[in-house]
């Protein structure tokens, strides 16, 4: 369906990534945001708190990030699209309730404008060190979705996609921005509401007596009932059966966890989004995401001018990981080069999926700035040799 026009600031704007993300959320129909201030993400909720009162939205600044994430899960159970926004330290605090959202199968979006870490790290400067945390940060086994925008325009566009994916798969979607994209100001085109497709919360049409909140639905997500419609359902973070009742058996755990995994893994082709540039004749392929994707293009151009046949693969959706795409490329190239602002996270995934069929060269950066394109070029040239 098309979105509610109340949240759409159609037109051509000059916005930073944080504001664009906030606009994307409002355009997607998000009407509840709970957050706690943290640099460099705060502008997202500042934008939202400026505009929400005019579109029936509620922003609440909670007492911490644990509360913010818990409130988002609660609000989503009313059917209201919900989001929270944070950066590294706050992301760490949200982990337990991100797991609750995964276990309760609650659609929501968690924005992390990544900064340098660990700990308080570099509050105002860039990092990409939370990529594994986005995937594995909450305890136990589950799957979720992570996306990485490379520009303010994508911060807008992909935030809408993040909401749509969260609704379709009933998972928390980690919107993994970085400080550079968050604070970079560029042209952002916001289309009119009638051009914005959103996935609404689909409610069950079963009557209360027949509805079961976690009944497996032929590989699809279970049907949803929202609080306040008379269903009197139960939802828990405990391992649960299809009635939503706790069941501490090995068998139920297997069914429960397997479902959380399968609903993503069996749909990776629908979820995964990658972009390829010049890979047809490539001997080396650079894999990058977020701000590093833009820096990598400069390194690629430099290497191409030196005669190296280098292609580019940009990860738009990072989790679930594009295992098949990497494996297929690995058979026809000599090496992957993976620059990222950390000391080896996604590069290890690339190496795993390449399965020894080609080399994987990591180009690390500790954070606080982006790569020198020359370092990426040097890695490409070295890998091609």
């Amino acid at each position: 369906m098309k979105t509610d026009s109340a949240g759409v600031l159609a037109g051509v704007h000059y916005l930073d990534g944080d504001y664009a993300c906030g606009e994307g959320a409002m355009a997607a129909g998000c009407r509840f945001v709970a957050g706690y201030p943290i640099t460099p993400s705060t502008e997202v909720v500042e934008r939202i708190s400026q505009r929400f009162p005019m579109m029936s939205g509620t922003f609440i600044q909670m007492e911490d990030e644990l509360a913010s994430m818990a409130a988002v899960v609660g609000a989503s159970w009313t059917g209201t699209k919900s989001m929270t926004v944070t950066s590294g330290p706050g992301f760490s605090l949200m982990m337990e309730n991100i797991g609750l959202a995964a276990m309760m199968e609650t659609p929501c979006v968690v924005v992390n404008v990544q900064r340098g870490g660990p700990s308080t790290g570099l509050p105002t400067m860039v990092g990409q060190g939370d990529m594994m945390q986005a995937r594995w940060g909450s305890h136990g086994d589950y799957e979720l979705i992570s996306m990485c925008p490379q520009s303010p325009q994508e911060a807008f566009d992909l935030t809408i996609d993040a909401f749509n994916l969260s609704e379709r798969y009933r998972v928390p979607v980690m919107f993994m921005m970085d400080e550079c994209v968050g604070h970079m100001t560029e042209k952002v085109v916001i289309p009119p509401a009638e051009e914005i497709d959103v996935v609404p919360r689909t409610l069950t049409d079963k009557p209360p007596g027949e509805f079961m909140p976690y009944k497996l639905n032929g590989g699809k997500v279970p049907e949803f009932a929202r609080a306040g419609d008379g269903y009197k359902f139960h939802s828990t973070g405990l391992t649960h059966d299809e009635r939503g009742y706790p069941d501490m058996s090995v068998e139920c755990q297997e069914v429960n966890v397997r479902h959380l995994i399968d609903k993503i893994r069996l749909n990776v082709d629908d979820i995964i989004r990658v972009e390829f540039e010049q890979v047809d004749d490539a001997e080396v392929v650079v894999v990058a995401y977020g701000i590093t994707a833009r820096v990598a293009r400069m390194g690629i151009d430099m290497a191409r001018s030196k005669g190296v046949k280098v292609g580019f693969m940009r990860l738009v959706v990072v989790w679930p990981f594009p295992e098949r795409h990497i494996a297929e490329l690995a058979g026809s190239i000599g090496a992957f080069v993976v620059p990222e602002i950390n000391y080896g996270q996604i590069s290890l995934e690339v190496e795993r999926c390449a399965g020894g069929k080609c080399a994987t060269v990591h180009v690390p950066h500790g954070g606080g700035g982006v790569h020198d394109p020359k370092a990426i070029c040097d890695a490409i040239v070295g890998a091609a040799r």
Binding site: A67, G74, A227, G228, K232
Partner: protein, 298 residues
């Protein structure tokens, strides 16, 4: 009483609060002589007598023995994470303002790991009924020290007796801005039920503490006898003092327990403050969230 013989099947009577429970989950997991079931009975009785639309009533628990209450109540019910029942409930309330949301959890959950949310929800006057069952101990995990364990009482992590000052919870709630504050024991069935009835019909942050026996851990570790002995202790030592100064409500080890209704006042809730403020400041431009919530649908 009629002495007429009726067929056994016709004589089967449902427990009066069965319609409020998920009977397919009974028997519950609580120990014999635990006080939580009594509190649930009082709450359900109050719900039954209330004018509230049960379809619009939601309940949220955290983790622990009392954290299981949401799982037994036949309402829209959420068993959330440890300490986070209040912020989860805050999201429910703000996401669909017409809901009547009750938080039902234990002393460790609400005043220990969740203490920060407790004080802030009270400060905001979030429209929640918060029911705190206080058994003086972390019972589900085996009897560890709680922020409510009285000075000198033993717990599994204070085996030589507790030397930390416990919270005076009614005072904490009152000073943070709660609109309704009461304390009872699970012996005070009639008074507790009345308190629930009053609180269910009020707005804002309403807080009821119920002191309950934990015969399995607290009582055993402190050689206080059975749950029945503790009920007798409440009978002999609970003192009803409505309107008491909340500063005087500390609970010492095996000492008197001051019960009653201490606060009952009206103050604008978070949502009322929000609506009033934005209407004043933004006028016609302000669009409040509709009672049904901010969901978009076809």
């Amino acid at each position: 009483m009629s002495t007429q013989k009726v067929p056994v099947q016709d004589a089967m009577e449902e427990h009066p609060i069965a319609p409020f429970l998920r009977m397919d989950r009974i028997p519950h997991i609580w120990c014999p002589t635990c006080g939580i079931g009594t509190v649930v009975k009082c709450y359900a009785t109050a719900l039954e007598g209330s004018a509230l639309d049960l379809d619009k009533c939601a309940i949220v628990s955290g983790i622990g023995c009392t954290g299981r209450v949401a799982g037994y109540m036949k309402l829209d019910a959420f068993h959330s994470t440890h300490g986070r029942a209040i912020p989860f409930a805050t999201g429910l309330k703000l996401g669909r303002p017409e809901l009547h949301v009750t938080v039902f959890s234990g002393d460790g959950d609400l005043s220990g790991i969740g203490g920060n949310h407790f004080i802030h929800a009270a400060r905001r006057n979030m429209d929640l009924l918060v029911v705190l069952v206080n058994n003086f101990i972390y019972a589900m995990t085996g009897g560890q020290n709680a922020p409510t364990t009285p000075l000198g009482a033993r717990s599994s992590t204070m085996p030589f007796g507790n030397f930390e000052n416990p919270f005076n919870l009614p005072h904490l709630a009152a000073t943070c801005g709660a609109t309704y504050v009461a304390r009872w024991t699970s012996l005070h069935i009639r008074r507790l039920t009345k308190s629930f009835s009053e609180a269910l019909h009020k707005k804002g942050f309403r807080f009821i503490e119920i002191v309950t026996p934990c015969a399995t851990l607290y009582s055993r570790l402190n050689k206080l006898g059975s749950g029945l002995d503790l009920m007798r202790f409440y009978h002999d030592n609970a003192e009803i003092r409505h309107g008491a100064d909340t500063r005087d409500l500390d609970i010492d080890f095996q000492d008197r327990i001051i019960c009653g209704k201490f606060i009952d006042e009206d103050r604008p809730t978070f949502l009322e403050m929000k609506d009033k403020h934005y209407t004043e400041v933004l006028g016609d431009k302000y669009a409040p969230m509709p009672p049904e919530g901010g969901w978009i649908h076809e």
